[in-house]
């Protein structure tokens, strides 16, 4: 990467013609409610190779929440690899487009399409069948991408991973891989209504795994909103100002 590109990536060099888009991005990041659950410039997941999890029952909004985390990161010029084990590329693309348009409407952004085009290169979608998803395969794909300088993810989102008895091994191998590539990893975790819940909020089935995550959030439907309940690793700011998902738009709101 040459010096200009490096400066641009760091956000210290803004070309005159990109100034308007840069201001749009800043406005959006400034107004975004995620600022209430993290410090400016800090990552929600503190360390490279760290894991975060979003728990909820089916259909509550795990994917919507994760996509918004991804959009937020893309606005900060961070590269996001979205791995879906449930949806095809087209459907994942649609999630992003819909939620971004929702953000655009909510914050009344002008030239939303132009902004969308500037953040798109920061996203890469991979989809796998659950049965064929494995660490060696992911390793191979990531190496392909980084060696050819196509894409170097800083955040990986894994949606639809089945947490079972083999998950512990998988997580420890993934952690090593994520450290090598300097990534933080977010998971969606599907819980069930009938499951026993541990005192720390994790389902009993996943109790052995809870140490693997640096941060755990739970989505709980409550009327027209979906509460975002921090279970582990969240530092609340602004005196713990609550952040939730608006169930009509699925946008993170305050």
């Amino acid at each position: 990467m040459n010096l200009l590109a490096k400066l641009k990536k760091k956000g210290t060099l803004i070309r005159l013609r990109d100034r308007y888009i840069h201001m749009l991005k800043n406005d959006l990041l400034f107004s975004h409610p995620l600022k209430h659950i993290r410090d400016e410039g800090e990552q929600l997941i503190p360390e490279e190779g760290g894991f975060g999890a979003v728990l909820s029952r089916a259909g509550v909004g795990k994917t919507a929440f994760l996509v918004q985390l991804a959009l937020h990161a893309m606005l900060e010029n961070k590269y996001v690899l979205h791995i879906s084990l449930i949806d095809p590329v087209d459907k994942v693309t649609l999630w992003y487009k819909e939620l971004f348009n929702g953000l655009g409407q909510h914050y009344k952004l002008a030239q939303v399409n132009q902004l969308w085009q500037t953040i798109l290169p920061f996203r890469f979608i991979m989809t796998f069948r659950v049965s064929s998803f494995s660490i060696p395969k992911l390793q191979e794909r990531l190496t392909d991408l980084s060696q050819q300088d196509i894409f170097k993810p800083e955040i990986i989102i894994i949606d639809g991973f089945q947490f079972d008895e083999t998950a512990l091994d998988f997580l420890s191998n993934l952690r090593a891989l994520a450290r090598t590539h300097g990534c933080r990893v977010w998971f969606s975790v599907h819980t069930h209504r009938h499951e026993d819940i541990q005192p720390d909020g994790m389902p009993a089935r996943l109790s052995t795994l809870s140490d693997s995550f640096n941060l755990i959030l739970k989505l709980e439907p409550a009327g027209s909103i979906i509460k975002i309940v921090p279970i582990k690793g969240i530092k609340s700011r602004d005196g713990g100002r609550p952040v939730y998902l608006d169930s009509s738009t699925m946008l993170i709101s305050e």
Binding site: V89, R123, M126, S132, E140, Q148, I150, F151
Partner: protein
Amino acid sequence: MKTEENVRNIGISAHIDSGKTTLTERILFYTKRIHAIHDVKGKDGVGATMDSMELERERGITIASAATYCEWLTHEINIIDTPGHVDFTVEVERSLRVLDGAILVLCAVGGVQSQSITVDQQMKRYKIPSVAFINKCDRSGANPDRVISQLIKKLGHNAVAMQIPIGLEMNFEGVVDLITMKALYFDGDNGEIVRIENIPESLVSRAREKREMLIDKASIFSDELTEAVLEERNISDDVLIEAIRRGVLSRQLTPVLMGSAYKNKAVQPLLDAVVSLLPCPSDMVNEALTMDEKEEPVLLSSDSAKPTVALAFKLEDGPYGQLTYIRVYQGIISRGETIVNARTGKKVKVGRVIRMHADQMEDISAIPSGYIGALFGIDCASGDTFVSPGLNVTMTSMFIPDPVISLAIVPNDNKSQINMSRALGRFTKEDPTFKTYVDDETNETIIEGMGELHLEVYVERMKREYGADVTTGRPRVAYRETITKKAEFNYIHKKQTGGAGQYGRVAGYIEPIESNDFIFENKITGGSIPTQYIPACEKGFRQCMVKGPKLEFPITGVKVVINDGASHSVDSSDMAFQAAARGAFLEAYAKASPVINEPIMKVVVETPTEFQGAIMGLLNQRRGMIVGSQDEGHMTVIEAQVPLSEMFGFSTVLRSSSQGQAQFTMEFAIFKQVPQSIAEKITEEVAARKKNVA
């Protein structure tokens, strides 16, 4: 006419040299549509396809014609021409959507080759149920078992043999039918006598084993069959066929038949399978779109009593004028009836209604729902939908994308010039995405379309079908100009130095808009420009959109607002305000930071997984932005957005990087600003071109 259950609208899908022509020829012979078999010349060589084309022309039949009708047992079979190319053209889509089922022909020696993958992907894309036919079992090196395993591994089909061969290569004698458990031999000069015998002793155990496999795979689709298996009851032929049929209709099972069309062996059982396993029109779900902006799907019911919905899927020039091939999806089209062309809204009276019989036609009184026929004397374009008066639906989307690529074509002689004009007239009628015009400056005929392959196909058709020998220029990308910021104008057009004077002043601003349209807004208050001159102002601005001042590409995405101006009681005129508007636009345009936009294509590459890394590299080198990759077992689908200008020659590079196994489709996605370095290059190219013209 027979009932709808007895109709099959099928396509024969095959790669070059797998015997599609020979097989079609035999089908027509056994169904008594033709009375003698003629061989395809040069069958082993590269010339085979060309020879077969010649043969078709000579005999005036069939594969090149849109729909050929034949009868087998109590069923009507319409064999519809399926184009061999996969470009996302409207024409391909139309031809495929009239099919209800298909025969996938594979070569027993070559097996699943890259072109088989291509044709299979076509069928998948349009959700067409199919049966496979392994042809050329008489050839040296024939191995149907290997082809079946390739169908499973390479194409991901749940393929299962319905027959086993009796002998192979030179000793190929016939097949064992695993449903009736009988050996079938084909006697007579042309294999027309089917002799049914007991299975040869040496094949009995293998036949039993393969039948078990067939029953096992079919049982998933039928509880009755599963129960019969569990209770170890006798399985009737009907139960087994019904289970296989259900698997075929849901596209979860591909029964495999085998034979040798050239040696006249086992074509009749294939026809039996078409009749018993492939869907009839009412088995398929067909949808139309409402004609409002939302284009919502409407389910059509295969009922002749309902209002008519029919699709004109192919036009042909015949000795009696234009022949329009039509498939009726709902209702009935009868002679003398009035129908409406949904695109133009014009009412049309149905004249002659016919059905194609190989090289002859038969007059019929009506085409009911599910059937294919042809109309004479209807002036329409290919892809038009005909409906009953009052019905507002269409079978194809009404939104036609703008062309993204152009090519200059020059006829090589006078005869070609005439033929080229005829061909262009026909193609523009057939395909709304294909356009043509004569460049004022260079006097060249320019054809425009949706991709390199799209235009290549038409140039090839011009040569083959119309005998128009043309030379093509280099393809040119359809760039656009637009502005990136707001700029004001205040321009006076004044010519009052003698003769009739001209005076007009327009003031306002131009600003970028997100859509590709042109918007004109009049915010004049107090009559500073009299109302009668406002349309002239708009016209003046619109004229500027055709050719941008920067590089003479069309301008898009601009909003013009006029909010002030002045006029003269004598010297102002429409002409004066048009000129003022043009001057105003030029003044503001230079200040509005104009840029060049280029068409970005959505490119989808389907490749065996082992080549996905290399192909992502290829796309990346071409300024492509990879949207994502989808792992589909042995295949990976990569989706990317790549500038069209970088896609020239991509198919060759893709083939060599994937041992010919990857294929791609491309369609227009958006217009995007070109990077500075590329913009400079384009500027140089345009300057050089202008110099050449001058």
